[in-house]
Symmetry: C2
Subunit: 453 residues, 2 copies
């Protein structure tokens, strides 16, 4: 938790920006895994954390802008709880630490909202939130209508990271770097993916961090949504790792590495790896306020296309290939995303608000997966993660349709069918004049990886 | 997953036992942590796993007993999914592996249930289940009426572990033992609790296991619900660890250890530790079919009371103290619980069914926390976990009320106020003639712990 004044200031700024109405903040509850009391690790809602700081379940909060009131709703522990959980500060004491002295029982929230003329709430992402909005406001599940004004104000504040936030993110990034460096050193042919994941996760836990998202650790880097860890790693494989730490404060790190299973990369692997690194460096080079991130994405994509042309897999002009969407044969996902209290920051509030300033996203395959397109501003924290992936199912699909055959040399592409995928990912802060990498450096080039093997 | 025949046989047996109606099995969905797509690790509902085996989200199943039909409801992957997730078997192929060849789209489930005369369902434990029952059957959240016949049949089948289940549980127990042995060896003064937890969890992950419940690893063993890992371990402390592995199949292990922070226990620690061990051994000694577990609990509690009398903390006859409930000053929680596909097996179905054969539980403080009271039967798998805890808040509460002052020597008890808590826990299978410990042996006595330090 930060100093009290930080939360007081944030709420005052939010009131000013939204201007009117009653803002409802639903904290998260515990979530049972296979029965109610066997709970997943508790995670507070990030917007609740940002404005009210308290990392406990069973809370809600209200900012009544019209009457200038801030209230936390929740229940004090009973003596039974205290016997089992030990003496703890009261909810009143905890709320005082974030500058709220109006604390009421949970049971009062409904009648309190009944008296409000205009209740504004944010999008929901858990079934428990839908049930709560139904009980509190009579809104049928699936018919929620979040407040765009509320969303815009929260997004604009949370998108611009303050110094105390940057310090926390950088700590999360340092632990994240350690996770990747430990894995890069430890991987050996014969290990199973889950053994590498275990090492990565121990580094996080040893630093009192949780994971900011489920670890990807796979010899099949071309399978983008891949949380399977059951494969044996063989000589000649590459292991793609995407993993990050989350600090107790909630702030995230998020990096990716691609590591050779043996001591060195093969020449084919190095050829593609160098293209990915060139794309990565071209993107980083462009980071500064005023640059539309969609332009950074296009530049990174063009570098990949130029590399594919040099390998004989692509024909024609890289910029034209990117404009047409042909680059998405190799680079299907986005170049980066906002990062903060969520690893994909505020994904629950809507990418069109967070990454596009309220403007619509492209619907083109590949480009539609870009979570961030807007002009960069000082204080933005984002990932840079171009990748090169050879996806057999996509090759078959597009080849069958004859898609982009003016750009893609399918005969040549077939030779790379079983290659896999490569991604390296770092985290950057947009500064007044450019950008700054967050966290300790992790290996980015084949030479840097091989130096740790 | 087990062989197809096992699931076919289980469903046939269930149909026979329930006799009539339509049985609805709600599988679990993914649950978003801080936004919808940042999901907690997926865990299938255990009853769904037991009868339908498939560990995937987005499924439901129906057994129509009257028309002798078994149907899995779920949706096939789209080409978009396959591009991102790689080629996978179809849902039809997966269902075939568990002996179900009738697979229908999710969208058909509601109209299918509409045509059923009597739909039976089990208790719900996630908000998503409440929403589903509302959508599928029009049952308002909070007004669910689970079928007692369905619950009884499932509980009776799942309570009696079959050989293939015991083999899985024993593997989970072996990994669980390794977790405890690794921690027992690793603990050193100066470490933080989270560093020990990190080691424990790495052992599980390295064996391709998850955790069967959130790890307890604390210098404050007397705080029974304690998942805080932020304390530094000092010379003279004891570290209480309660942790277990869950196999990919879902089967759990659950053990506890209490380890000295230094090389050896102090004489005061050893005095209490020996009492806990004596209680533990007395309980294990009694395990065999036909013995009511509540009697085992009472015997274990009496041994603790006899030990407390030897320390001068308790007066009078141990059996009378236990009958009155005075033992709950030192032993507040239960002696053990069923274990299987859930670490507290079928806690979602109701302890009165699982642990008490449908009979009511005691409401006495201490005794009411005993999850298992019924006569033991061959095939039951359960934990044995007596403990001795000095809880300052409970001492103050009871002392203030003058409670049990005929038994408790509060003057002497005050000298143990800051002692902490001790628990050792093992897992047992009830055999035809007695019991068998599951998993590798972990240190149980002070001598066995010290031998690993």
């Amino acid at each position: 938790m930060f100093e009290k004044d930080i939360y007081v200031r944030r709420r005052a700024e939010l009131k000013k920006r939204v201007g009117s109405g009653t803002l409802l903040f639903l904290g998260n509850d515990e979530c049972g895994c296979n029965y109610a009391d066997n709970t997943y690790p508790f995670r507070q809602d990030s917007t609740f954390l940002y404005y009210f700081g308290l990392p406990y379940d069973g809370l809600a909060a209200v900012i009544d802008i019209d009457n200038d009131q801030e209230i936390i709703f929740g229940d004090e522990l009973t003596i039974d709880h205290i016997v089992w959980m030990g003496t703890q500060p009261t909810l009143h004491e905890k709320a005082h630490l974030v500058g709220v002295d109006n604390v009421r029982p949970s049971a009062d929230l409904r009648s309190w909202l009944d008296r409000s003329l205009q209740v504004r709430y944010l999008p929901v992402y858990r079934a428990e939130h839908r049930l709560k909005l139904w009980r509190l406001l009579g809104i049928m599940p699936g018919e929620e209508k979040p407040s765009a004004e509320f969303i815009r104000a929260v997004v604009d504040m949370r998108n611009h990271k303050q110094p105390e936030e940057i310090a926390e993110i950088e700590k999360a990034c340092d632990v994240t770097s350690d996770m990747h460096i430990a894995a890069t050193k430890a991987i050996r042919p014969g290990m199973y993916e889950y053994e590498v994941a275990a090492i990565i996760e121990q580094v996080a836990a040893s630093a009192n961090c949780s994971l900011s998202f489920p670890t990807i650790c796979t010899i099949n880097g071309q399978t983008l949504h891949n949380h399977y860890h059951g494969n044996r790693i063989n000589e000649g494989d590459m292991v793609l790792i995407d993993a990050g730490a989350e600090r107790p404060s909630g702030y995230a790190g998020d990096m990716s590495s691609t590591v050779c299973a043996g001591k060195i990369f093969t020449s084919r692997q190095k050829a593609v790896y160098d293209i990915q690194v060139a794309s990565h460096l071209a993107a980083v080079e462009m980071l500064r306020p005023g640059v539309p991130f969609v332009k950074v994405y296009e530049r990174a994509s063009e570098v990949i296309c130029a590399g594919m042309r040099d390998l004989g897999i692509l024909n024609g002009d890289p910029a034209e290939a990117v404009a047409a969407g042909a680059h998405a044969m190799f680079f299907q996902c986005g170049l980066g995303h906002m990062m903060g209290l969520d690893v994909h920051d505020m994904e629950n509030l809507g990418e069109e608000f967070v990454g596009y300033g309220g403007k619509p996203k492209s619907t083109q395959f590949g480009r539609k997966s870009l979570r961030l397109g807007r002009e960069l501003e000082e204080g933005f924290v984002l990932t840079i993660e171009p990748g090169v992936y050879f996806i057999p199912e996509l090759i078959d699909l597009w080849k069958g349709e004859g898609r982009f055959k003016e750009f893609i040399n399918y005969g040549e592409l077939e030779k790379w069918r079983g290659f896999g995928g490569i991604r390296n990912e770092e985290d950057y802060l947009i500064t007044a004049t450019g950008s700054r990498r967050l966290g300790k450096k992790i290996p980015l080039t084949t030479e840097e990886v091989e130096a740790l093997r």
